[in-house]
Chain length 140, copies 2
């Protein structure tokens, strides 16, 4: 995966620095999302400044390697994303984020297009709920 990142960065004339690699790792290791501030805290030990984290996260989002989500408390979080079009399913309880791919939305977009006359070309969907583990712990 880091190899793929390296290739993509080089292909657009950018360098794949140690910082970019570490920042990627931090997000990849965390199954629930992280805010930029949280990631920056973790990366401080490596001597990586928060400015860099903001800049790199923005690049990752543009390249499609990170997706942003509203976490359980409504904060802006980012989640590693292998690629392809998928949507975050956020546990309101533990904050875990699982990505699901929803084919059905293409149909929905076409329908909306016909109904409204808009040319529909994108969407942002987040789904909220409670994950199986949290349900087991406190069903209710």
């Amino acid at each position: 995966m880091a190899q793929e990142l390296r290739r993509v960065f080089h292909s657009i004339g950018k360098r794949f620095t140690n910082q970019r690699q570490r920042i990627w790792e931090v997000f990849k290791e965390k199954s629930s999302g992280l805010t930029v501030a949280q990631a920056a805290d973790l990366l401080r030990a490596d001597g990586i400044g928060h400015t860099t984290v903001y800049r790199v996260v923005k690049e990752f989002v543009e390249l499609g390697f990170l997706k942003w989500v509203h976490g359980a408390d409504g904060e802006h979080q980012y989640v590693a994303c292998a690629g392809g079009h998928c949507h975050p399913l956020v546990c309101r309880d533990c904050g875990r984020v699982q990505l699901v791919d929803c084919q059905g939305l293409n149909t929905l977009q076409k329908l909306v297009s016909v109904e409204t006359g808009f040319r529909v070309d994108g969407h942002h969907l987040e789904i909220f709920g409670v994950c199986p583990e949290c349900l087991r712990r406190s069903p209710g």
Copy 2:
């Protein structure tokens, strides 16, 4: 509509002040969304401070009278919403926001629930595109 707002506010033990009425009017008159800052600018002439606008917008969102959307430039905007469950369709060009109701999503939620084991209980969907007027002006 203002009457309904008055009733709802009273029913939860809050007052329906002139400020709340004016703030509601500003959003209702604007078919595309407004950021809180934009609304506060418009309301300055009435002597309403931005603090109040922030506070009241938050109340309106909680009561379901306003919905928040990412505008064409990604800023946080709020749109008046008659009530009921509906989703914003945002024109990337002129910023106009039209609300559509998408029945199909209930089915989708059930499907996701079965696939993942989550108890799904909510979602946030925004749809982006280009509105008919903008298409006519510059088809492309």
